[in-house]
Each structure stands twice: as structure tokens, then as C-alpha cells.
């Protein structure tokens, strides 16, 4: 008789491509994007959510292996067995998915001789969430490779597969965050060669010269200015990487797609993990991938519900300061405890606003506090704002000329008025040429 169906008890499942196909024309980003879309096929219609992580603790470890690879399903060279996955359950390989590295894996390829990676991945992830093989000729879970199943961006499961997975997990109540029309752009797939579409510029991009910021942080020596779902990045020597912001979800992997802004960000000096705060929750990042087991409640820091406005680690005493409304807390990263006598009434530093948008330490040893479109500088070890502050954040950090609002109808690029052929004379205060790389 058919074995009792196994399924995941939890709904949030992490995945990671641990090894990639060797000598394959498919690049790593394409492989990861195809895995994302193949998992999305299942998460769009069930309450399951998948997110990519970096750690080796992922629920679904994906490998491209050859021949005997220490499980009971040795591969057999090109053809024959092309992949397998382990059903959910308590064994350590549950969910793991293996592809035969000896196959010539293809994507959007007319080449009939290759094996379409997306089609096989959809099948194998069906196993990884608990489905077995079926005889139904149209089902994606029938055991034989049937060729490509079409474009990953538009693929929909056959009805019989939907019914079977709903029997395991029920129907997805809300539309899957990854399926929402305005959800974050998922990983890029190479355009089909014949119809390159230029992605229209996004309308909701904030303008760096006329906004205040949700969070500012020095991360690995670089400065990150966060606004909504976007961020600008400055190199260690304070050079703006691009006039156009990057998208938070496409760089900081593992944040929920429906997160539309962050409250505060800082880099922990003890282990260089990066901490993101939003509301009552926080996420820990190792590099730009969220760690397993997050989000967690901010009460881990001893903070009250309601979250924080700003956070930073003061170079002078290596303590971490959290700010909320007119209060601040001082937290010791080594003992992982809040210092006694907190919260205290803000501001600690004379001349700094009592309510903040953001705070950051910078490589010059000074502390910087941001409110509205201005910032205040406190020199290392001082308890008062340096003379001459506040100053304009946009001008001093984001290469805007004074009072440069977002010109109507342009994409806000500096010098957007330059006529064709006329050399664009846009310069920031320091007189260096501003150029933006658009690709």
C-alpha cells in the first residue's frame, strides 16, 4: 500500500544550492533563479514559503552530483536517472535534492538533447514537499522526463498536481507574496534571445536628493542609506556607487518580500553580523544572506515591543545604542545585556535631536545622526555635536547639489537637463564629475 504521506510541519522552508553544475553553460545565477521559480510553482498555491539562505542548515540542500554520491540513488551518467529528492520526514536528508551533474542541463533551449533544468526541478521539489510518483500522463509527478514545460515565469501546475498538494497542505489563503504583481522583482532570468524586453524604470523609486532615510549603517566599512525597498551604497572612501538605488530584497536575501521598509540596521562589532530591525522583529545576516531561525523578537535585546527608530555601535565604547522616540538604550554586545539605568531620556549627545531617523558610526571614528534631510556629527569621544552642524545629508553624502529636488519628468539623474551632445557639467560641491553606471 502507498506509504503514509510525509509532509513538512513547518511552512517556512529554507533552501540553498550547495554545489552547482560543473562545465555547464548555465551560470550560477541562472541555476539559482530556476530553483527559485521551481519552488515558487509550489509556494504560489500552498501555504509554504521558501527562502534562500547561505548556511549549511538549509531545509532543502540542492546538489549537482555524479555517480555514487553516498545515498541510495547513485547516478548513471547521461540519461537514465537524472535527479531525485528526499521526501519530508525527520531524517537529515529530508527535502534534499540531487541533480545528475553528467546531464547536459538546459534552460530555454531548443536543443532537444539537453534536459530542461526547470522542468526537472519542479518535479523534484514536488518530492521534497511530499509528493510521490503518479501514472497520470499530464502530471508533473510522473517519473519520466517529458521535455521542457515552458517558461518558468508563466508555468502553472496541472490540475491533478494542485489537488494532490492541496490534500497535503491546504490551499494558500493569501496570494503568495512571490506571486503578487507588485512584489519585489524575483531573481533575474536571462531574457529569451529573440525578444529582449527592456524593463521599464520603476515608478516607486525614491529620489536620493529629496528624501529622509529609514536607516543608515556602516557595513564592512561602506555606508548604506535605506529608504523603503531601496538602498544607496557608498564605498569606504565615501564614493556613491550609483545614483540609482539598489533593491533591498535582491541584495539582502531572506527578508520577507512583503517588507516595505526597515527601521534600523547596524553591524555587530563582536561578530560582524548585520542586524536588520522592523517592528517587533529583527533578522541576523551573515554577509548578505539571512541566518537560519530568523526573524526573532526584539525582546532578545531587552527592547520593548514597538521596535526601534535607529541603532548604531559607538566607536568610543563599543556599546550599541538603540533609539526609540525620545528614549535610548545602551546594550553591551559582549554580555548581550542592556546596561542598567536604561532606557534613558534622549539625547545623550548635546545638540543631537531627541528623535532620530537613523544613526551610524563612520570610519573617521565620529558618530553621525540623521533626522529629516539633515545630519549631525559628533567627533569620537565627544558628548556634543561638532560646530557647524546640522548639514545637508543629500549634499554631503549622496552627491546632490543644494536644494536639488527631483526634477519633474526626469529620472532625477544629476544633470538630467543636459541637451544631447552638450557635455554635462553637473558637479557636486567638491567639483568632481558625477557619472552613473546604468547597467
Amino acid at each position: 500500500q502507498a506509504p503514509a504521506p510525509t509532509k513538512w510541519n513547518k511552512r517556512n522552508l529554507s533552501w540553498r544550492v550547495r554545489t552547482f553544475p560543473r562545465d555547464s553553460p548555465l551560470g550560477r545565477d541562472t541555476v539559482r533563479a530556476l530553483m527559485h521559480y521551481a519552488l515558487k510553482v509550489w509556494s504560489d498555491i500552498t501555504p509554504l514559503n521558501f527562502h534562500e539562505v547561505a548556511g549549511s542548515q538549509a531545509d532543502i540542500q540542492i546538489d549537482f552530483s555524479t555517480a555514487d554520491h553516498n545515498d541510495r540513488y547513485p547516478f548513471d551518467g547521461p540519461g537514465g536517472a537524472v535527479a531525485h529528492a528526499f521526501l519530508p520526514g525527520d531524517h537529515h536528508t529530508a527535502g534534499d535534492t540531487h541533480f545528475d551533474n553528467d546531464e547536459s542541463w538546459t534552460f530555454r533551449s531548443p536543443d532537444a538533447h539537453g534536459i530542461d533544468l526547470f522542468a526537472v526541478a519542479v518535479h523534484e521539489f514536488g518530492h521534497a514537499i511530499g509528493l510521490g510518483h503518479v501514472a497520470a500522463p499530464r502530471s508533473v509527478m510522473q517519473p519520466y522526463y517529458q521535455g521542457p514545460v515552458g517558461d518558468p515565469l508563466h508555468y502553472g501546475l496541472p490540475y491533478e498536481d494542485r489537488v494532490r498538494v492541496w490534500q497535503l497542505y491546504g490551499v494558500r489563503e493569501s496570494v503568495s507574496p512571490t506571486a503578487q504583481p507588485d512584489a519585489e522583482e524575483p531573481p533575474l532570468l536571462p531574457e529569451p534571445p529573440n525578444n529582449r524586453s527592456s524593463t521599464p524604470p520603476r515608478k516607486d523609486v525614491p529620489h536620493r536628493c529629496s528624501t529622509h532615510f529609514d536607516a543608515v549603517a556602516q557595513i564592512r566599512g561602506e555606508a548604506f542609506f535605506f529608504k523603503g525597498r531601496y538602498f544607496w551604497r557608498l564605498t569606504r572612501d565615501r564614493q556613491l556607487v550609483s545614483l540609482q538605488p539598489a533593491q533591498v530584497h535582491r541584495f539582502w536575501r531572506g527578508l520577507p518580500l512583503q517588507l516595505d521598509r526597515v527601521d534600523a540596521v547596524y553591524e555587530r562589532t563582536s561578530d560582524h553580523r548585520i542586524v536588520f530591525f522592523k517592528g517587533d522583529r529583527y533578522w541576523l545576516f551573515k554577509d548578505n544572506n539571512v541566518e537560519e531561525g530568523f526573524p526573532r523578537p526584539v525582546s532578545d535585546f531587552g527592547l520593548p515591543p514597538g521596535g526601534v527608530d535607529a541603532a548604531f555601535s559607538w566607536a568610543h565604547n563599543d556599546k550599541t545604542y538603540f533609539f526609540k522616540d525620545q528614549l535610548y538604550w545602551r546594550y553591551d554586545e559582549h554580555t548581550r545585556r542592556m546596561d542598567p539605568g536604561h532606557p534613558a531620556q534622549s539625547p545623550l549627545w548635546r545638540g543631537v535631536p531627541s528623535v532620530l531617523d537613523a544613526a551610524m558610526r563612520w570610519s573617521d571614528g565620529a558618530a553621525y545622526f540623521f533626522r529629516g534631510q539633515e545630519y549631525w556629527k559628533v567627533l569620537d569621544g565627544e558628548l556634543a555635536v561638532a560646530p557647524g552642524y546640522p548639514q545637508s545629508t543629500a549634499r554631503d553624502w549622496l552627491v546632490c547639489r543644494d536644494l536639488q529636488a527631483a526634477p519633474e519628468g526626469t529620472d532625477g539623474q544629476a544633470g538630467a537637463h543636459a541637451r544631447p551632445g552638450q557635455r554635462d557639467q553637473s558637479r557636486s560641491e567638491d567639483g568632481y564629475q558625477v557619472c552613473s553606471c546604468s547597467s
Binding site: Q1, A2, P3, Y73, F75, G79, G80, A81, V82, A83, H84, A85, E103, I115, V120, H123, E124, H127, G132, H133, A135, P137, P143, Y144, Y145
Partner: protein, 84 residues
């Protein structure tokens, strides 16, 4: 249908065991499968694969066995039979 060659038969038995249609051969005796068991297993595989269930290892069945596929068995692995 021409009788399958010994090689095809061996491939067929191995394939049927691998994908759950036959109990794994007993590693000690490597016993051959009884003909009616074999025929039943072939018919089951043909039904699963959408072929006519002839119970005979014909060309279409051999071709399907050579089709790229998922490594997981189609039927839950029947426990290997032990000699009494």
C-alpha cells in the same frame, strides 16, 4: 514480439527492481524472478507508464525503460524477500 535478449531481460529485471516493481533481488542468492512475477511486474510498469499492459518486455517497454527519469521508485519498495 521477438523474445527479449538475455541482456535486455537482465536490464529489465534490474530496472524493475530499482523502481519498485520487483523486490530487490536477494543479494546472497541473486535469485532469478519467477516468470509470472516478472510478467506481473512488467504489466504494472506498463500501466504506470501509460503503455498497453502486455506483461511482455516488448520494444515500447524497453524504450520507456531507457527514457531519462527521476531516480525515485514509482511504487514503495517491496521489502526484499528472505529465504525461509
Amino acid at each position: 514480439a521477438p523474445a527479449p535478449s538475455a541482456e535486455d531481460l537482465s536490464l529489465g529485471v534490474d530496472w524493475l527492481s530499482r523502481f519498485g516493481y520487483l523486490p530487490p533481488a536477494d543479494p546472497t542468492t541473486g535469485q532469478l524472478q519467477a516468470p509470472e512475477e516478472l510478467s506481473k511486474a512488467i504489466a504494472a510498469m506498463q500501466r504506470f507508464g501509460g503503455l498497453e499492459a502486455t506483461g511482455v518486455l516488448d520494444e515500447a517497454t524497453l524504450a520507456l525503460m531507457k527514457t531519462p527519469r527521476c531516480s525515485l521508485p514509482d511504487l514503495p519498495m517491496a521489502p526484499a524477500r528472505r529465504r525461509r
